[in-house]
């Protein structure tokens, strides 16, 4: 995208040419960053203090020294590592399956002609519009019927391929998978799956990075579905375990906050690792809709 070339025109758009205007813009942006980040800082402050620190007036605005102690309490009181393990398993397998199935389907939709293709793609887009909550009850009944309620399968399998990813990767493939490369492969006698593996998949990489992080984050943060389907209290995801912790220990804020912090940190790390790809591709995807 024409990222920085058009920046000079922005000044025109908001009439910010002068030095003073530039300083105002910078101050406003920094203020915004402060508001964005403050809740995280505050989470660290609360998670590292004692329960009394949180209740005191005036509030203590700097981190305390109890972080490790509070984290230890979390580990003692809920099966933290068990939930973390479940969440990681679900998020990693779910993401890998989504990347595989979505890229395969996107490749077919973008580069192959086959009967009923338009109809099938139209159906795919229509299904994307159906809200998940519409069929929360029957989805649960289906899972119970399969004997999957309470197992990790119930969290992984239903979302193993999704319309959003197929749609988005297809857009990407159309713009960045040259037909010449595919033709060259065909002349060498490569079939569909070999072209997918040797030509499409390597070129998909940047798009897969975005879709991967996006999928990972949404699986990690999903709440209502695990809440409904994980009927076995020994087998929860981090989000559900955290919500339970906050109900069961609602008087011991410091421990609850330590738990919240421990559930947030892994996600922020994953995000920061892929942030550059992620933000560029997110923006590109939205403007192409």
């Amino acid at each position: 995208m024409a990222a920085d070339h058009t920046s000079s025109t922005a000044g025109l758009a908001i009439g910010a040419g002068s030095r003073r205007a530039r300083i105002c813009v910078r101050v406003a942006l920094l203020l915004g960053v402060l508001v964005s980040m403050f809740p995280f800082y505050w989470l660290v402050v609360m998670a590292s203090g004692t329960n009394q620190d949180i209740l005191d007036y005036p509030p203590k605005l700097v981190p305390g020294t109890q972080l490790l102690h509070n984290m230890g309490e979390v580990i003692d009181r809920i099966a933290f590592f068990n939930s973390l393990f479940n969440t990681v398993v679900v998020a990693v397998t779910g993401t890998v399956l989504v990347l595989f199935f979505d890229s395969l389907a996107a490749f077919a939709f973008a580069k192959y002609e086959f009967p009923a293709k338009k109809f099938l793609f139209g159906t795919l887009m229509a299904t994307y519009m159906i809200p998940a909550q519409l069929s929360l009850v029957p989805q649960f009944v289906t899972m119970a019927h399969f004997g999957w309620a309470g197992t990790l399968k119930a969290l992984i399998i239903p979302g193993a391929a999704n319309a959003f990813g197929i749609f988005w990767l297809r857009q990407y493939a159309q713009n960045s998978l040259p037909d010449e490369l595919l033709d060259a492969g065909r002349i060498d006698g490569a079939g569909f799956f070999r072209l997918y593996r040797t030509v499409a998949l390597p070129l998909f990489r940047p798009a897969l990075a975005f879709l991967g992080i996006f999928t990972f984050i949404s699986i990690w943060n999903d709440y209502i579905w695990p809440l409904v389907v994980m009927v076995n209290p020994d087998r929860l995801t981090l989000q559900v375990a955290l919500a339970n912790l906050s109900v069961a220990y609602n008087t011991n804020y410091a421990v609850v906050m330590a738990g919240a912090l421990m559930s947030v940190v892994p996600l922020i790390v994953v995000f920061l690792l892929g942030a550059r790809h992620f933000l560029r591709d997110l923006a590109a995807g939205a403007t192409k809709m």
Partner: protein, 339 residues
């Protein structure tokens, strides 16, 4: 929206298949099927999964909504009774009202702030990547964790009231009064989604070709005119996207309300006066706490109808006076072709 880009690509894809087509004619029709089999196989996982976990539950939920069922015993056919009970259920209506109030209180300021932020980001060249990351992080973090954090900030003796007290304002009953509950939830939603929408608006801004700005300058347009005659019409599709997305998300608010205001006692879920009871929270509570599966299924369908209706209304509102927008796009194409 998407198919426009799709159809433009078809001829290019077709040319690659011609070689295969010639080969296929030799041993048709079996060869034809063999040729089409791999792409069908490639797209089949989604359709299989959707049939089992998407389509079947949707039809099953329609069937369920005509039944009385607790999930264990026998189903009893009740016709449209669930729907008529639902329409007489004051808690249901209250939850709809709450959801719309929270949607309105969060979406309007959120989109406005996001637009302002996008303009600021667009005019700031240095540290652009760092700003983007900082503004996007709220969207990445766990909703449950951050709801817990905000819950403590908005507690009666929490940080929000401490700060108000420091500047001499009496404490606000954030989590106990009708307006307070809705404000607290709205603030959480705004905090979470402003950066996300700002980045989407920013991408839209950056996609406006600079020829348009030059043309406006040559014509002697003021900054104000440039903003309203060039920028806003050009951004309309992106704004439409943001409005539709926040409508669909906004009508399904659940986590904030559930984490803050869930209680074992059905009558008090949703907080004092049930002012924090949203549609999806009520659906979840009726289905999985009270085991009224038929009732929950009926509610799901009404929610679906509401979302569809509301998305269409918003679509019309935002793209309604679409003449300017179309002209803007035509102008943009001319500018590109003229180059």
């Amino acid at each position: 929206m998407a198919t426009v880009a799709g159809t433009a690509q078809v001829p290019a894809a077709g040319s690659g298949d011609e070689a295969g087509g010639r080969r296929a004619r030799a041993d048709a029709p079996r060869g034809r099927w063999r040729r089409h089999l791999p792409p069908y196989l490639a797209i089949s996982p989604y359709y299989v999964l959707f049939a089992v976990f998407g389509a079947f539950p949707v039809f099953f939920s329609l069937y369920l909504s005509f039944q009385d069922w607790d999930g264990i015993g026998d189903m009893r056919f009740v016709g449209l009774q669930q729907y008529s009970w639902l329409l007489q259920d004051s808690v249901f209506w209250h939850s709809i009202l709450n959801t719309f109030e929270i949607w309105f209180m969060s979406t309007v300021p959120m989109l406005f702030l996001a637009l302002v932020l996008a303009f600021l980001l667009h005019s700031q060249v240095r540290y652009a990547a760092a700003y983007r990351v900082a503004y996007f992080i709220p969207n990445v973090t766990s909703m449950v964790a951050m709801t817990i954090v905000f819950g403590s900030v908005f507690a009666q003796s929490g940080l929000a009231n401490s700060m108000l007290k420091a500047i001499g304002i009496d404490g606000v009953s954030w989590l106990t009064s009708a307006l307070g509950i809705k404000s607290a939830i709205s603030i959480m939603i705004i905090w979470r989604w402003v950066g996300y929408n700002a980045l989407i608006f920013l991408a839209g801004l950056q996609a406006i070709p600079s020829e348009l700005f030059e043309a406006a300058r040559v014509d002697g347009a003021s900054s104000r005119q440039t903003l309203f005659r060039v920028v806003v019409p050009q951004l309309r599709p992106v704004i439409l996207f943001a409005v539709i997305t926040s409508t669909i998300n906004g009508l399904q608010i659940f986590t904030e309300s559930q984490v803050l205001f869930y209680s074992d006692d059905p009558g008090t879920t949703g907080g004092p006066g049930q002012e924090g009871m949203t549609i999806v929270l009520y659906l979840w509570q009726k289905s999985f706490n009270d085991h009224q599966f038929g009732y929950g299924a009926a509610m799901g369908w009404l929610l679906f109808a509401l979302i569809a209706l509301f998305a269409i209304i918003n679509w019309r509102l935002v793209s309604g006076s679409d003449r300017d927008g179309r002209r803007g796009i035509a102008w943009r194409k001319e500018a590109r072709n003229g180059r």
